[in-house]
C-alpha cells in the first residue's frame, strides 16, 4: 500500500531532522494488552434502542472557561453512540483488555477478527483522543 505524500514527506524529513522523526508504531502485542477505561466525568445512559447517550462536560481549564464565557456554551454536550459503539463502550470498564474487546465484538457480531481489530482499535483511538476513555496497562504484581 502506498502511503500518502504527507506521511512520506514526514518520514524522509525525519531521517535528517531529529525533531521531526516519526516515532515507530506501537507494538501490536503491547496495544492489545492495554485496558481502556471510561472517563469518570462522562455520564451516560442508554435509550430505548439500547444505544448509549454520553453527556460530556466541557473543558474546565482556562481556555475552556474563556471559550464558554465568550460563546455562552452549555455546560455539557451530548454524544450519541450507535449499536456497535455502545457495545464497545460498555466493555471499556478497565477490566477488559483491547484483545478481549476485539474477541467479544467479533463473537457478538459474527465478524472476521481482522475486520474487528481494525475498526475497534480505530474507534478506541478516537475515543482516547477525545478523552472519553483512558488506556492503562495493569502492572504485574510481584509475589
Amino acid at each position: 500500500m502506498r502511503l500518502p505524500l504527507t506521511v512520506r514527506l514526514k518520514h524522509s524529513a525525519g531521517r535528517y531532522l531529529p525533531f521531526l522523526k516519526v516515532p515507530p508504531p506501537p507494538d501490536r502485542d503491547a496495544v492489545f494488552k492495554l485496558r481502556p477505561m471510561r472517563n469518570g466525568a462522562i455520564e451516560w445512559k442508554t435509550n430505548d434502542e439500547g444505544q448509549a447517550l454520553l453527556t460530556v462536560p466541557h473543558r474546565k481549564d482556562r481556555f475552556g472557561m474563556l471559550m464558554s464565557s465568550m460563546f455562552r456554551l452549555p455546560e455539557t454536550r451530548n454524544v450519541q453512540l450507535d449499536d456497535v459503539g455502545t457495545f464497545v463502550w460498555n466493555l471499556c470498564d478497565g477490566n477488559q483488555t483491547v484483545d478481549a474487546i476485539v474477541k467479544q465484538t467479533s463473537r457478538e457480531y459474527k465478524l472476521n477478527r481482522r475486520e474487528v481489530e481494525i475498526s475497534v482499535t480505530t474507534y478506541l483511538q478516537m475515543l482516547s483522543q477525545r478523552n472519553f476513555i483512558a488506556m492503562y496497562q495493569r502492572e504485574k504484581t510481584k509475589k
Binding site: 500500500m1 450507535d82 449499536d83 456497535v84 457480531y109 459474527k110 465478524l111 472476521n112 477478527r113 481482522r114 475486520e115 474487528v116 481494525i118 475498526s119
Partner: protein, 343 residues
C-alpha cells in the same frame, strides 16, 4: 446448492481452516489468518496473508504463457497462422526455476544483511509433484526470521509460483507450510476461479478478470469483467445492525443502486435464506452505447441485468451477487450465486 459448495461448507466447519483464493490460486491456512496484501497485475500477482501472531505467508506468481507482441514479420505471420489454427503454438520449455530461486534468495539475503543478520539458505533437489504436473524446488532460509517455501512450475497452467511461510524464533513453520502446500492449487478448477478472502468465498468463470475491489471493515466488493459482461459480488457484515430499519428489497435498491436499470424485484428463498431476486435490463442511451462499445468485436451487449441478495442469519451477513450479461450467458447469476458460500 451444488454438491461441491456443500462439501466445502461442511469441510470448513469440521476443519476450521481459512480458505484463500485469488485468481486461480487457492489454498488453506489455519483459522484467523487473513489477507493483508495483494496485487492485481495482468500476467501475475502477489498475496500476503498474516497470522494473528508473527507468522505470514507470501505467494508470488507469474504466467509464462503470456503472448508476446509480434515484433518481426516472421513472428507476425506465425501469430496469424496460430490464430487461424493453421499451426500449433510451440510448447514452451520449463523456465529455469533454480536461477529464479537463487535471485529470490539473494534478495532475501540482502534484506537480512541490511538488518545486520547473518543469512543461510538450503535448497533441495528438483522434484516432480502433483502427478507429474509440477517441477518444484523446496527451500528453507534463516536470517531476519526464518522461512520455508517452494518454487514450482505448473505444466498445466504454465505458471511459476513461489510461496513461503515466514516466521520468527519458535514459530511452527513446518505445520503451516505442510497445510498450505498440501492444499495448494495454482489454476482454475473446472473453468472456475476461486475468490476467497475474509469470510467471503465465491467462484467466478475463468475468463473474468478482477476489475475493481473494495476491502473494508464490514464491507467487501469484488467486481469482475469479461468483454463488457460484469459480475459484482458484495458482502456486508453486521446485518442485524445495518438492515435494522429496512426490508431486504429496500436495502437492495438502496445499497446496490439498481435504479439505473429497469428492474423487477421478487421475494424468494436462496441458500435456505430469505432473498430478493432482481431481473431487468439496462436503461438509457449512454448505458446501451457503453454496453455495445465494451462488447466489441462480438457485438453482444451485456444488457441483461440479474441480481440476488440474501441475508445469512448464521453468519450475520448480507450477500449480493449481480450480473450484467448478454443473452447467451443468461444463467450466469444462478451459477455464480450458487457457488457463493455463506455459512
Amino acid at each position: 446448492m451444488p454438491t461441491f459448495a456443500k462439501e466445502r461448507s461442511s469441510q470448513k466447519s469440521l476443519n476450521r481452516r481459512t480458505l484463500i483464493g485469488w485468481g486461480g490460486i487457492r489454498f488453506y491456512l489455519p483459522v484467523d489468518w487473513n489477507m493483508t496484501g495483494f496485487s492485481m497485475e495482468r500476467g501475475g500477482g502477489y498475496l500476503k496473508i498474516d497470522s494473528p501472531g508473527s507468522m505470514f505467508v507470501q505467494v508470488k506468481w507469474f504466467n509464462t504463457r503470456e503472448r508476446r507482441r509480434p515484433f518481426t514479420i516472421l513472428e507476425m505471420v506465425r501469430t496469424l497462422t496460430e490464430i487461424m489454427k493453421l499451426s500449433r503454438p510451440p510448447e514452451p520449455s520449463a523456465p529455469d526455476l533454480r536461477a529464479m530461486l537463487d535471485t529470490f534468495l539473494k534478495d532475501t539475503g540482502k534484506q537480512a544483511r541490511k538488518a545486520k543478520n547473518s543469512f543461510d539458505s538450503k535448497v533441495k533437489a528438483e522434484t516432480i509433484e502433483h502427478r507429474g504436473e509440477r517441477t518444484a524446488h523446496h527451500f528453507t532460509w534463516s536470517g531476519a526470521g526464518s522461512g520455508q517455501g517452494k518454487i514450482w512450475y505448473c505444466a498445466e497452467c504454465r505458471r511459476v509460483v513461489i510461496a513461503q511461510v515466514v516466521g520468527r524464533g519458535r514459530d511452527n513453520l513446518a505445520d503451516v507450510a505442510a497445510s498450505m502446500f498440501g492444499s495448494f492449487t495454482d489454476h482454475a478448477d473446472g473453468g472456475w476461479n476461486t475468490w476467497a478472502l475474509y469470510d467471503l468465498e465465491s467462484e467466478v468463470p475463468e475468463g473474468f478478470v478482477l476489475k475493481s475491489q473494495k476491502l473494508m471493515s464490514g464491507y467487501l466488493l469484488l467486481e469482475f469483467e469479461r468483454r463488457g459482461e460484469r459480475v459484482r459480488i458484495e458482502r456486508w457484515g453486521l446485518a442485524n445492525v445495518t438492515r435494522k430499519k429496512f426490508t431486504l428489497a429496500e436495502w437492495f435498491r438502496h445499497a446496490c443502486r439498481v435504479n439505473n436499470q429497469r428492474v423487477k424485484t421478487i421475494d424468494t428463498r436462496f441458500h435456505e435464506h430469505d432473498a430478493v431476486r432482481a431481473v431487468g435490463r439496462i436503461k438509457g442511451l449512454v448505458s446501451w452505447f457503453r454496453a455495445m462499445r465494451d462488447s466489441l468485436p462480438a457485438l453482444r451487449p451485456a444488457s441483461q441485468y440479474n441480481g440476488v441478495v440474501w441475508e445469512c442469519g448464521e453468519t450475520n451477513k448480507i450477500l449480493a451477487v449481480q450480473t450484467w450479461c448478454n443473452r447467451r450467458t443468461e444463467g450466469l447469476l444462478e451459477e455464480v450465486a450458487a457457488r457463493c458460500v455463506c455459512h
